[in-house]
Structure formats: C-alpha cells, structure tokens
C-alpha cells in the first residue's frame, strides 16, 4: 500500500472511530496547532447528524434534538455514507429502526420516519406530465382492456401501522406542537408530486392493490382482476372510479 493510501486509511479510521491516530501529524497533543484532528472528528458527526435531520425533520422534532443526536450517532457508526451527495444519507434509517425498535420511545415513531423518507423521495423524484381527462376521453373503447396506466415516478406507497399523519402534519408545521398518542391503524399511505409540491393521503386495501398492480405494469383489465380479487362486487366500475380520482389528483403519468 502506498504511503498516501495508508495515510488516508488511517485518517479515515480516526474519523470513523472518533479518536485521533498518533503518528500522522506534524505536531500532536498540546503542541498541535490549528485545531487539530478534533475539528474533523466533531465536524463529521455534526455534519451527518444535520443531514439526517434535514431528511428526517419530523422524526427529529418528535424525538427532540438530544435523543435524535444519540440515534444519529448510532446510525452514522452503523451506516457510514457511500453517497456523493449527502442528500441520500439516511436511506437505511427506517430499516435500522425497524430492526431495533427499542431505540424509539413509541412504535408509532417508526411510521413518522417512514413518512419522512417517502416525502423526501417524492420531493425530487423524476418529473412527468400528468394524464388528463382529455387523454382518457381520446382512448378508443377497444383499447381500454390492454391500456397500461402508469403512476407518476414520484408515487410512494408505504405501509403504516399507526395513524400518524395528523402528528406528522402538525410537527412538520411546528416543532413545538404537542399531540395525543396515535391510534393503531394498519393502512397504506400514498405520497406523490403532481408538479412541485408533494401530496399525500391514505388509501384502502383495494385501491392500494390496484395501484401496486399498475406500478408493476398491469393493464386496465389486469387491474380490474386485482380489484375483483379483493372482494369488490363491481370491479370495472370501481376501477373506473379509481381512474377518475387518480386523474383528478394528478397521480398518473401520460406515459
């Protein structure tokens, strides 16, 4: 290994392990001028904690800064960044929390983290022109069964176990807000971005199944089958009603 590679490895290990490595620097300990390695050690955790807070704003507000910092440091140690852009730092935080729920004061906080990351993902997902009612009217009757309707690239569908949306909304608007304990409620949350701002709402099992089928390339006929399998008596009418709603909400793309 070259001297330069060795130096970089040792420097990096110092930062990751949060203690200075002797032998690298021109002066050390009390003789060390210029702030020394401590500046880099402190900056590393502070910068990544701040980035995690940007990506999980509501989670940070729910936990409070001190508890969030403890969590962030544990995550930083477990999952150092491989990204060129710090914007992606935290991509495994939900998984990290799900694997060790004792890190959270209440299980519903995990759903707040899920919602934070999904909102962040939709925020700068690829743009796409929305399908309009006119596009639908121009569709020939015989083309309907095989027509594939594609959700916008920004669509996120997340399974939540708690009714956390009111708390998420309140904390997103005001860090100091207080709220009642959320109730258990297994449901699917839809998040998408028709233009520049993200929208979200909850979805029932049947609609979520139909949308998931569309994201996997299902045709309108396949979508009706999925709806029928969920026990709805008039799947074609239900599918048509879903389509109308999705178009009104700007949830489907032209292509």
């Amino acid at each position: 290994m070259s001297t330069l590679a060795d130096l970089q490895q040792r420097f990096q290990q110092s930062i990751l392990r949060d203690h200075s490595t002797p032998g690298l620097f021109a002066a050390e300990g009390a003789l060390l001028a210029g702030g020394g390695m401590g500046v880099y050690l402190q900056a590393y955790r502070a910068r990544l904690t701040a980035a995690l807070g940007d990506n999980f704003l509501v989670l940070q507000r729910a936990l409070g800064d001190d508890a969030f910092a403890v969590l962030a440091h544990a995550y930083i140690d477990a999952h150092p960044s491989h990204f060129r852009s710090i914007r992606w730092f935290g991509h495994r935080l939900v998984e990290f929390l799900a694997a060790a729920p004792e890190r959270l004061p209440h299980p519903a906080v995990l759903d707040l983290a899920r919602m934070d990351w999904a909102m962040r993902t939709a925020f700068d997902a690829a743009d796409a022109a929305a399908l309009t009612a006119d596009d639908l009217a121009a569709l020939q009757l015989e083309d309907w069964p095989q027509r594939r309707f594609t959700p916008l690239p920004s669509l996120q569908m997340i399974d939540l176990a708690w009714c956390v949306e009111p708390i998420w909304k309140a904390l997103d608007a005001d860090a100091a807000t207080t709220s009642e304990e959320p109730k258990p409620l297994a449901h699917v949350l839809l998040i998408w971005r028709p233009t520049l701002d993200c929208c979200w709402r909850s979805s029932d099992t049947c609609e979520a199944a139909a949308l998931r089928a569309l994201t996997q390339g299902a045709s309108f006929a396949d979508c009706c089958t999925v709806i029928a399998e969920s026990g709805v008596p008039e799947p074609a009418q239900t599918a048509a009603a879903f389509l109308q709603r999705w178009i009104a909400e700007g949830l489907l793309g032209k292509e």
């Binding site: 590679a5 930062i15 021109a26 001028a33 900056a43 150092p80 960044s81 491989h82 914007r87």
Partner: protein, 277 residues
C-alpha cells in the same frame, strides 16, 4: 471557445430561490453546488432551470475527491457531465482535497499531504476529470486544521507545482488562505504571492468562526476585516478576477448578501481605479 465570466457573484441557495425568480438582483453570476442538483426532478431542477435563464452560472462540487486513492467515480462523473450539459456553466470547480477512501464519503474536505507522491497521484486524475466533463477544472485550496508529518513542501509550493504539471486552473478561496495561515502560522501574503498569475480564474470570500488559537471555516457569518484586507492584497496582485461570497449557514435575507457583495465590488473597483491612475 473558452467561456468567460466577469464581475461578482453569489452561491445560489434554496432560501433565495423565490427572490431570484421574483425580481432582478445586482449580481453578475451565480455558483451552484453541483451535488444539490444531481437529482431526477422536482423543485431543485425546476428552480435551477428557471434561474439559469437570468444568470450565468458556474458549478462547484464538494465530492469529486480528486486526491483520494480510490479510483475516480465514473458514475458521478457521468452525472456531473449531464449537469454540465444542462447548465452550460462557465467552468466547473471542486476542492484540492480528498473526501474518503474505500468507497466511503466522509462529506468533509480533507487536506492532502503536500508530497511528490500526491502530485503524481493527482496528475492523471485532473486530466481524466477534464476529459470526462469536457470542461476546464478549477481546484480550490481548502482550510485545514492539521499538517502532516509527511509534508515535503508548503501548500502554495504544492499548488504551483500542480498547476505547472497539469494545467489545471484555480479557485482561490481567500478566506481559506486566511484560516489556514492563522491555524498553521504562515504569512498569507506568501501564499497569495506564490499563486500563478494566469491560473486563478475565480475567488471565494466567506466568513469563519474564531476558536481561541485557531479558526474554523464555517461560512456562517459576514466576511471579517482581515479577510477583506487579504482580498484587497490579492486584487492588487492578481487583478480583476470573478469574485463571490459563499454563505452556507445562518443564511441572511438575499438583500443583506447583495449589500455585502456591493462592498466587495466597491473595494475591488477602487483598487482597479487606483491602479489605473
């Protein structure tokens, strides 16, 4: 044809997107942080395209890691090239540093040892980046808080030699020169004097934080008097070079930054007038 840029600029920050869209401002060009726009869509790219219509831009990266012992990240370079094609910047810059090894990114601008081996490491990499981007690459001096035992030359000697060997150009961060001069006890004029006259294409100014015996480059407050003085010295020596203010934290209203930029502009123009007389 080589692109040019003149005058005084600011770093484009999300806090000021709407201000730039809603009314014209007395700023000649803007610098974007490249990594903030390596996304698929949404507001970042919308505002980038919208504001680019009204202002020339340069691109400034923070994770090229030109001095790392890892291979250059070809996926990142492709993304950067796509952004270059979109923005058509006057030039692209990043830092003379490393940001991680073993495929990790520590998201910091870590100093390089100033050695012959480091120069040999950098030579082909600068050429590779310039070829991948189809653009000249400007490298910026960073603030540092340590000096290596391995150093064989001063930072300014290292930079001069790098320019001589690679033909790269420089983004001279005057605040970083000042911060490092205090931290490592050298005369900042010696650094400025050593800069190759024709290689410096852009200047950064910023604020820093005082920590007793050392300074930290924080970009969270106005430019201090000592950095203004060093800028004055730099303009006298290097002449008129596109100059901008970087502000990354504690970001004030745009009008406040424009007023600070007006002070920089007045200072530089005064020097030029004096020199012309």
């Amino acid at each position: 044809m080589r692109k040019t840029l003149n005058g005084f600029g600011l770093g484009l920050r999300t806090e000021h997107y709407r201000d730039f869209v809603e009314s014209p401002w007395h700023v000649d060009w803007l610098e974007i942080i490249s990594e903030n726009y390596l996304v698929a869509g949404g507001k970042p790219l919308y505002y980038l395209d919208r504001i680019r219509r009204d202002y020339p831009m340069v691109m400034h990266g923070v994770s090229l890691s030109i001095g790392s012992c890892d291979a250059l990240d070809s996926a990142y370079l492709r993304q950067l090239r796509a952004l270059v094609d979109r923005v058509e910047p006057a030039w692209v810059s990043d830092h003379l540093c490393w940001t991680g090894t073993g495929s990790l990114n520590l998201h910091d601008l870590l100093p390089l040892p100033y050695t012959e081996a480091t120069l040999r490491q950098l030579e082909p990499r600068v050429a590779q980046v310039q070829e991948a981007l189809g653009q000249p690459l400007l490298l910026e001096n960073v603030s540092s808080y340590v000096r290596y035992r391995a150093d064989e030359m001063s930072e300014w000697e290292f930079i001069r030699e790098l320019v001589r060997r690679t033909g790269c150009e420089l983004l001279l961060d005057v605040n970083n020169v000042y911060v490092s001069s205090v931290n490592h006890h050298f005369n900042p004029h010696t650094f400025i004097d050593a800069m190759p006259l024709t290689a410096v294409r852009q200047i950064h100014l910023a604020g820093h934080e005082e920590h007793g015996s050392y300074l930290i480059d924080t970009h969270d407050q106005p430019i201090c008097e000592a950095v203004f003085d060093l800028y004055l010295y730099t303009v006298k020596r290097l002449g008129s070079i596109p100059t901008m203010i970087e502000r990354d934290d504690n970001i004030p209203p745009l009008a406040e930054l424009i007023a600070e930029l007006d002070c920089v502009r007045a200072l530089a123009q005064r020097i030029q007038t004096e020199q012309a007389a």
